[in-house]
Subunit: 153 residues, 2 copies
DNA sequence: CCCGATTGACTGCCGATGCAATGATTGCCA
DNA sequence: TGGCAATCATTGCATCGGCAGTCAATCGGG
């Protein structure tokens, strides 16, 4: 019935294993690429999420990035202290603190974005564009599934 | 030339962003699935890598999992203390310590493997098998590229 | 109108991770 | 043969992330 059974799930054929490895390697490389901006890969992701309006608040940002809420608060502390992010309490709902980028925050995020574009174009250099597109679509699909899956047996 | 440019790299279309999200979500779910065995997702990966002979030593295991070498030592400490992993100093090269699973280690790893198979079959339930296969192939390819890429501009 | 449930931000605590340095061992090359 | 580089395991150190708990604000049902 299913794709996997006891005869074909090995480290080298396991989607989870491969995704983990890709994430680790990509993460490490981007961290190095961002070093001269004093940013972390994760911090940059947060800036971009805010920039493109995916996450108006701290809790939404944590959900969007599948990141811990508490850790996110501390991370925004850092980014705010560096003058990259602004916190403004919401008028209609006083629990909420709205996030936005400062001018410098936008500038840094966009500079780093160019670096990321270069990295990925390098890694995808040999791939037909069509194949990249389906790969991205599949990742989106998997992500949606995982978000919807509350637990597994 | 490249696939990405300033007009199409967004959180929702970025491979890195999506891979990170999938990894986080999958990781969290597997951690919960392994809770009754007292194992972490990462610990299980280590057991499996050893089991299938991908990583005879601690350093090789760290490389295979794109994990920190120092952290790996401590992780093996834990697994050894629980009686899941054995350490044996190599005869020919006295620097290296060979790793192997105890009987209980094998048993735990295989029990967890069944859970992982169930999880992934659930997540891939709607996918044609052919599509899953190409997805895995693409992940392998990306992993190889990332391993070979020393740095990026 | 009030009380319980929910949501958002924040904090303390613990374990895990990444980095750098150390000591021991081996291999290589002049 | 002697010394230098590389590799392996290990260990501090600082940081980060996940979990649980707290407080404040909002929402919804009786």
């Amino acid at each position: 019935m299913g794709f996997y059974d006891s005869t074909n799930l090995y480290p080298d054929t396991s989607a989870g294993y491969l995704i983990r490895a890709c994430n680790q390697l990509c993460h490490a490389q981007l961290d190095r690429a961002f070093a001269d901006e004093g940013l972390t890969c994760v911090q940059w992701s947060a800036l971009v999420s805010i920039y493109f309006g995916r996450a108006p608040t701290c809790a939404a940002l944590a959900r969007d990035m599948a990141h811990d809420k508490g850790a996110m608060t501390r991370m925004i502390d850092v980014l705010e202290a560096r003058g990259l992010v602004r916190r403004d309490r919401d008028d209609s709902d006083r629990r909420v603190i709205n996030l936005s980028l400062t001018e410098e925050g936008e500038a840094v995020a966009m500079r780093c974005r160019l670096k990321v574009i270069d990295c990925w174009n390098g890694w995808f250099a040999d791939w037909p564009h069509e194949e990249i597109a389906t790969f991205i679509t599949q990742l989106q699909r998997l992500r949606t599934t995982l978000e919807a899956s509350p637990a597994c047996a």
